[in-house]
């Protein structure tokens, strides 16, 4: 395959120094180790990607195909994306904001997290580049999606995860027949090992050598939000941060839509949410720093537990440039926020969703997100995968005999207790 101009892609380009590289499976600038990013031919995209064209296509993330880094039509995960954007009036009332939306990737296809987006792109591209084995370093959700989508594409997969992950997330990789390797250490150590493995084996590591393609998949979340809001950008978007990549890619997605004339150029602030037990980015943002200090994670929000966030620097830059804020919440606040979202909107989010809702609450209460504004909360994963985190924190069922009298007695007793 030609290494120049594939599909709407022009080259890989270093975000630091701008040096260009062929569109291969490579992720780091040889000169300064800066991350490589896909450069597109926006002139050609503009001719092909209009509102009318998009609206005529199937409701999946691939309706924005020109802006996603594959040379041909996608071959893995064609049904991913276009998850519901919910008008969350009951939650809005609780948090005290005029207009609130929840982008619900907890029901993404096929593995119930936003990672289905990035994996669909990464594996479609991996197949184009001729790979037969795919792999990833993961805090859980990515592993689930790589395992499932590799299975459906007939690819062999290896997923590397910290050994202390939630049972649900481990089973959700094993069931697809993936090779699941648990590493005795936290995610940053899994990452380090995977960088070394990726250098040695000729596999497509979705978040190592395939990272430039993989990361672009997150932009589809931004495109969908803008389209579902009626072709406009939200004033405020609250995004969970692990490596910081999602926040930077949502920003890029909004900017691309503006550049292509698909939405008006209005102010769109991107606020970052972390767990206090792993908050290198929000801590730096609150201190006004443009760099972060790595930490050793200790939080129930395991999917966000990255102590050395690779895109932390760029996430800080986006928050600075969009005059946005960041904050973090404790484990108890995360559990409370999971319940609040469930009880007001009927959405059961995983711990990362609790982080995002909890931080949204804080930012509205402190006035950093004004009460008279419109905001979108990104829920990126499903609560059914992190049951361990809320076990024992959401009440207990009451047990009675199959007797009407016992049931009536129970109600009377509880009414008295609540009186």
């Amino acid at each position: 395959m030609s290494e120049k101009h594939q599909g709407f892609m022009k080259a890989l380009k270093c975000r630091e120094c701008g040096r260009e590289y062929p569109l291969a499976a490579t992720h780091v600038c040889e000169f300064d180790f800066g991350p490589l990013e896909v450069a597109y031919d926006y002139e050609r995209i503009k001719k092909s990607l209009t509102r009318a064209a998009i609206e005529s296509r199937p409701k999946t993330m691939w309706r924005y195909r020109e802006l996603l880094p594959v040379a041909q039509e996608p071959t893995v995960g064609q049904q991913v994306g276009f998850t519901p954007l919910i008008k969350a009036d009951r939650l809005a009332k609780k948090l005290g904001i005029r207009e609130l939306w929840v982008k619900n990737d907890a029901v993404n296809y096929p593995t119930l997290s936003f990672k289905d987006r990035v994996v669909s792109v990464a594996l479609s591209r991996a197949k184009e580049l001729g790979f037969k084995t795919v792999a990833c370093a993961s805090t859980g959700n990515l592993a689930n999606s790589v395992a499932a989508q590799a299975a459906s594409a007939g690819l062999k997969s290896f997923v590397f995860i910290p050994s202390d992950l939630e049972q649900g997330k481990i089973l959700n990789s094993l069931i697809y027949g993936a090779n699941v390797i648990c590493i005795k250490g936290h995610y940053d150590e899994v990452n380090r090992l995977c960088a070394e493995i990726a250098g040695k084996f000729g596999w497509a590591f979705v978040n190592v050598n395939m990272r430039p393609y993989y990361a672009e998949g997150s932009k589809s979340l931004a495109y969908e939000i803008a389209e579902q809001l009626g072709w406009r950008l939200p004033q405020h978007t609250i995004v969970p941060m692990a490596s910081g990549s999602l926040l930077t890619k949502i920003h890029k997605g909004y900017q691309e839509f503006v550049k292509l004339g698909l939405v008006p150029d209005t102010e769109a602030r991107l606020h970052g949410a972390q767990a206090t037990g792993c908050s290198p980015i929000s801590t730096a943002q609150k201190a006004g720093l443009d760099f972060f200090k790595p930490v050793k994670p200790d939080t129930i929000a395991k999917s966000l537990a990255i102590g050395t966030p690779a895109d932390g620097f760029y996430a800080l830059k986006v928050m600075r440039e969009t005059s946005a804020a960041a904050d973090d919440v404790s484990d108890d606040e995360i559990r409370d926020a999971i319940r609040l979202l469930a009880e007001t909107e009927g959405i059961f989010a995983e711990t990362a969703g609790g982080v995002t809702v909890g931080v949204a609450k804080k930012l509205i209460a402190s006035g950093k997100i004004p009460r008279d504004s419109s905001a979108v909360i990104c829920v990126t994963g499903n609560g059914l995968k992190t049951l361990d985190a809320v076990q024992g924190h959401c009440g207990k069922p009451r047990e009675i005999k199959p007797s009407l009298r016992e049931f009536e007695a129970l109600l009377t007793q509880e009414e008295k207790a609540n009186a």
């Binding site: 300064d32 991350p35 990515l142 940053d188 978040n207 760099f291 790595p294 690779a310």
Partner: protein, 91 residues
């Protein structure tokens, strides 16, 4: 017994494809200087104009990030293994 540096793929052109390099330096800072004398050009890949380790480069001594140790002043003892690894995306 000397210390060993594990060279990442993007830098192996400079080390003539050598993956493991033995060094004698007593600190991380000295190790970078020693690598530079043997493989000219490697230093500017790892540190910026001010001599600080570049922000997308992670350096580990026996699997511990030097930012949790003493950064460039982190002491090295015989048998230590140093890894140089580019930052990676989330998961």
């Amino acid at each position: 017994m000397p210390k060993k540096v594990r060279i990442p793929t993007p830098l192996r052109k400079l080390t003539h494809n050598e993956e493991l390099i033995e060094i004698n330096a007593a600190t991380i800072g000295e190790a970078i200087v020693e690598l530079q004398t043997r493989f000219p050009g490697i230093q500017e890949r790892l540190v910026d104009e001010k001599g600080e380790v570049r922000r997308f480069v992670n350096v580990y001594v026996n699997e511990e990030d030097i930012r949790f140790l003493q950064n460039r002043d982190t002491p090295l003892k015989d048998g230590d293994e140093i890894s140089i690894i580019p930052a990676i995306a989330g998961g």
